[in-house]
């Protein structure tokens, strides 16, 4: 299919449709309301479901009910809305159901602002709601990658029977870029062929979809079943990209999403100035490319590792853990909707290298 120019938020909506994600529940919030405005027209064309809920608490729980059908279900929201969905996310994880949550992150805490930020990293990767569970978290850095990862998110949600989050930011949502989609809408599996959805118990034993286990042995068993899935994700789903990571790199940048694109500009400019810097861009934030970061960071030529984020320092804790104290781990970040400029990142790198 030919490339078309599309706004990030609309491309995300179309990507979900192409992935067979035809069941959408949402509540408006800036900076992602265009997704719903796009889908309210698009979904009826393909026999899909669009429900504007009364709150994000309800959205999350509608997804819970809808996910139990075995069909592909999703929502999009932004930070304060995602906070309200944490109850349902915890239950959906506990009940082993697939659902896709797309967070077009804005600055927080509280009502915060409406401009792009990466301050929901902890919430997305460390649980967010109560209980022993994780989300698989995908972080796109271009509109095309947002399209690809949204489609992948549905496959992974169904592979693991676990909620998957796509963690974008306001920049990805608002940017116009050329994107390409698969020709047709993906044919998804018939829930009648699955052994878990609530399809009505005609001809089989009834199914109970729940997260309640009053017997501690049973609850522990369910928690370890979840833990096994997260272990498998760590083994099979780590995704990342290296940019100009060379044998003479002095500083290894770790950055994701929109921020990683700016880091690429920094790297290109510094290369011309004779300073070799490389980037490892995590694409999955959970599972985190911990071993890959360690491998790169421990190389002789690396003098320091720098986590660059649109936050006051969240992912840096995971980078620190990966590097295990062998190399200095530095942090540079701006937040509140302020996106660090290439110049400030460059200055910080030069400072680390004692050149400023």
């Amino acid at each position: 299919m030919a490339k078309i120019l599309m706004k990030g938020n609309e491309a995300i909506g179309e990507a979900a449709v192409r992935a067979g994600g035809l069941h959408y529940f949402a509540y408006p919030i800036t900076p992602q309301s265009e997704v719903g405005e796009y889908l309210v027209k698009r979904l009826p064309e393909v026999g899909g479901v669009f429900v504007q809920a009364e709150s994000e608490v309800a959205v999350g729980n509608m997804l819970f009910g809808a996910a139990a059908s075995g069909k592909r279900v999703f929502t999009t929201s932004s930070s304060p809305g995602i906070s309200l969905m944490q109850e349902a996310i915890s239950y959906i994880a506990g009940a082993h159901l697939p659902a896709v949550f797309i967070n077009i992150v804005r600055g927080g805490p509280g009502l915060g602002g409406i401009l792009p930020a990466q301050s929901d990293y902890f919430q997305a990767t460390k649980g967010g709601g109560h209980g022993d569970y994780r989300l698989l978290v995908l972080a796109p850095s271009t509109v095309q990658e947002a399209v690809d990862l949204v489609m992948l998110a549905f496959d992974l949600a169904h592979k693991y029977l676990n909620p998957v989050m796509v963690l974008g930011d306001g920049m990805i949502g608002q940017m116009m870029e050329a994107v390409e989609f698969p020709e047709s809408i993906k044919e998804t599996d018939d829930p009648m062929t699955m052994d878990w959805p609530a399809t009505g118990c005609e001809g089989r034993d009834p199914r109970i979809i729940k997260s309640l286990y009053l017997d501690p042995q049973a609850l522990e068993k369910n928690s370890f079943a979840l833990a096994d899935k997260y272990k498998k994700m760590k083994e099979e789903e780590v995704r990342y990209e290296l940019y100009k990571v060379k044998d003479d790199c002095q500083v290894l940048l770790i950055s994701y999403g929109t921020m990683a694109r700016i880091c690429q500009t920094v790297i290109d400019e510094m290369e011309e100035e004779g300073v070799s810097v490389g980037l490892l861009r995590p694409i999955t934030l959970f599972p985190f490319p911990e071993n890959e970061i360690r491998e790169q960071a421990w190389k002789e030529n690396i003098r320091a590792v720098l986590s660059v984020e649109m936050s006051t320092g969240q992912m840096v804790e995971d980078v620190d853990k990966a590097v295990q104290g062998r190399k200095p781990v530095e942090f540079y970040g701006r937040t509140g909707g302020i996106v660090p400029s290439p110049e400030e990142v460059k200055d910080y790198i030069l400072k680390i290298l004692g050149k400023k």
Binding site: H23, V49, A58, G65, S69, A198, C201, G203, I209, K210
Partner: protein
């Protein structure tokens, strides 16, 4: 002629062969049975999905031979909305207590009703939080003693009890709203009729149906089962009048929406 024995009472097919955990004299079990009989009589067991609340009846899914989802506290109408919208061929019902529905779940029930979700809600009003040990509910009677209203519900602080059937019947969209009770056989029969009618409405594709059932909690009311039934009749019915609050058969509301 043993074959000629007439079976006049048996377990509904939609029930599992499990003894419930309810306290002696609790009327949750009667309400369960009315739903199970309804499912049997309409032959819809294979396409029914129940949504359990958080409350004493959270384990309802162990007692029914239908698919079941277990919702977070108060959110059953949202789950029911989700599954019914994506699988409209199913018959979906929620079963919710008064803390679940009228307190923490007030937002979800009002909006599910107002959107006209094609689900059936069985609302069990026992004027108290049973599961957590007898705290005040939004439906607790004025002056009623609970563990969080030890001097009796003080309406100057807590307001008057919420009448859910009346409140929801102010909405234009719902198809059918009735309040019934199960404190004596006569009322049990009426309650069965209401539940059957609600399910029938849903099977016919009509919008939101709601049956409020006044129910006893002898344990937390501190009464014997007999006393609890009398207390319900003497105290609750005056404040929570029984009857039909909304029925599209009469007001033809679906026409009005065109």
């Amino acid at each position: 002629m043993p074959e000629a024995k007439l079976k006049i009472f048996e377990r509904p097919k939609s029930f599992t062969d499990v003894v419930t955990h309810y306290c002696p004299g609790c009327t949750h079990g009667i309400i369960h049975r009315l739903i199970a009989e309804t499912i049997d009589e309409y032959g819809i067991r294979g396409k029914t999905v129940g949504v359990a609340p958080v409350g004493c009846s959270v384990l309802i899914y162990n007692y029914f031979r239908t698919d079941f989802l277990e919702a977070p506290h108060g959110r059953a109408p949202a789950l029911a909305t989700g599954i019914k919208r994506v699988s409209p061929e199913l018959i979906v019902f929620t079963y919710q207590g008064d803390g679940d529905l009228a307190s923490i779940g007030m937002g979800e029930i009002v909006h599910a009703a107002n959107r006209g979700e094609k689900i059936t809600v069985v609302f069990v009003n026992n004027a108290i939080y049973g599961m957590t040990g007898g705290q005040m509910a939004p439906t607790t009677m004025p002056g009623q003693v609970t563990t969080t209203s030890p001097m009796g519900r003080d309406v100057s602080q807590a307001g008057y009890p919420i009448r859910m059937s009346e409140l929801l019947s102010t909405l234009r969209t719902p198809a059918y709203i009735e309040r019934v009770s199960v404190h004596n056989p006569h009322n049990v029969i009426r309650a069965k009729k209401a539940i059957k009618k609600a399910f029938k409405n849903q099977m016919e594709g009509k919008r939101f149906t709601f049956v409020e059932v006044l129910s006893t909690c002898p344990t937390n009311w501190g009464l014997t089962p007999d006393e609890a039934q009398n207390w319900l009749e003497d105290n609750m019915i005056a404040f929570y009048p029984l009857g039909v609050f909304k029925d599209t058969y009469y007001d033809n509301d679906e026409e009005g929406q065109k």
